[in-house]
Subunit: 213 residues, 2 copies
DNA sequence: GGAATTTATTGCGAAATGGTACAAAAAACA
DNA sequence: TGTTTTTTGTACCATTTCGCAATAAATTCC
């Protein structure tokens, strides 16, 4: 008896002028700009041009500039988690798993239509965190999440006998994170992928206990 | 016969109104601001207030805002090199030397009247490098310089028998740098010193081949 | 004492920035 | 057709930002 509500099972037809943008797509564009430029150097005109939305529409859809920044960074974290959690949980050997983790990370950091932009957490939010406690809390959370994921990964490898009894998963986890941070930094500085891959190879070798020692 | 030139062996007396600032001190203040805020979020009003110099004086003494930024970053690098090169060259054992290196780095990254500011290279210049090739070149140079210093350190330790024949000084050097980068990042995010020291301890253990394996 | 030199001060201009009010447009509904 | 609702588009505002011209101040030199 609700035939008047539009398509079966869907929301009632929205009144008013239709939106000229997709929120998800617009947020992705904003994310790209903020990741590259940080908060202060990314103007509302920049965001307006990238999203195709005028200023009032940006405010209506996302709130003020700071709120848009926070939503963008949150979106980045969600995307990164989605990309990485599957690899962290895979059933590969430790070495293979680490290799995959870093390959995914390199893809992320070296992506960008106009050049590599590194990691939003390491190169953008951490810088902006100085001015904003809420952003700092998000950065701390991101750092902690990554440390834990690596530690879990090493603990699992230890349980499976891939690492010696004396191995410390927490310490190795920190090393795993440090390698992410250093390649993010270098990617931002346009260090070529070959060099980054060499750094990864060496670090994986150390973490698996088969090289550099 | 040059008695008229002022004090013996010194420059001739400078004509004109005396300066109300010390260039070195002013540059140090500018450095502090830029390190914390980066280029875009640090305004000339901020710099003016911190240095006690009005805008025309800033321009007269240091050039435009970008030139001041570059001079500030260069000054930071000179200071960092001065602080670290002595430790890199010390005659301590490998472990002790690494410990000292990271202690000096932690002091640097945790310094600041109003909180820790991390590393200018990692957290500020690397971010700003996206917009300016000259800054990027300086960042690349800084990264490379640190990699080399660490590799030299490990090569020396290998020559002295502190590391096994199979040890790769370049790979370990990268790890040494990665540890610097990760503590810089975490210091910026206000991770407590205790935690940073634990990360350093674990990393040093891995690099010396005595722990976490 | 006056001229030359160097630096500080004041005020300003042009442009950029973040945010908002309001009118018009485009849809659903009665 | 008129009303209601939602979104777009335009114009505007107040403030900030960067850079600079002109003048005044403080020194040295002749």
């Amino acid at each position: 008896m609700v035939q008047k509500t539009g398509k079966p099972g869907s929301e009632p037809k929205r009144r008013g002028r239709p939106r000229a943008y997709e929120p998800d797509v617009a947020l992705g564009k904003a994310l790209d700009l903020f990741r590259k430029g940080g908060f202060a150097a990314t103007s509302l005109d920049d965001l307006s041009a990238a999203t195709g939305m005028n200023r009032p529409s940006l405010y209506g859809a996302f709130g003020d500039k700071r709120e848009l920044y926070i939503k963008s960074y949150q979106r980045y974290r969600d995307d990164a988690r989605a990309a990485l959690s599957e690899v962290f949980r895979s059933e590969l050997s430790l070495r293979k798993r680490l290799e995959r983790i870093y390959a995914v990370a390199l893809d992320m950091y070296l992506s960008g239509e106009d050049g590599p932009k590194g990691c939003f957490t390491v190169l953008t939010a951490a810088s902006d965190a100085v001015h904003d406690p809420a952003i700092r809390a998000m950065v701390i959370d991101a750092l902690s999440e990554l440390d834990k994921a690596f530690a879990r990964c090493f603990r699992l490898a230890k349980d499976k006998g891939e690492l010696p009894e004396a191995a410390d998963p927490v310490a190795l986890g920190q090393l795993g994170s440090a390698t992410i941070h250093t390649i993010a930094l270098r990617a931002r500085a346009h260090v070529p992928r070959k060099e980054l891959e060499a750094i990864v190879r060496n670090a994986v070798g150390v973490m698996c206990g088969t090289a550099a020692k």
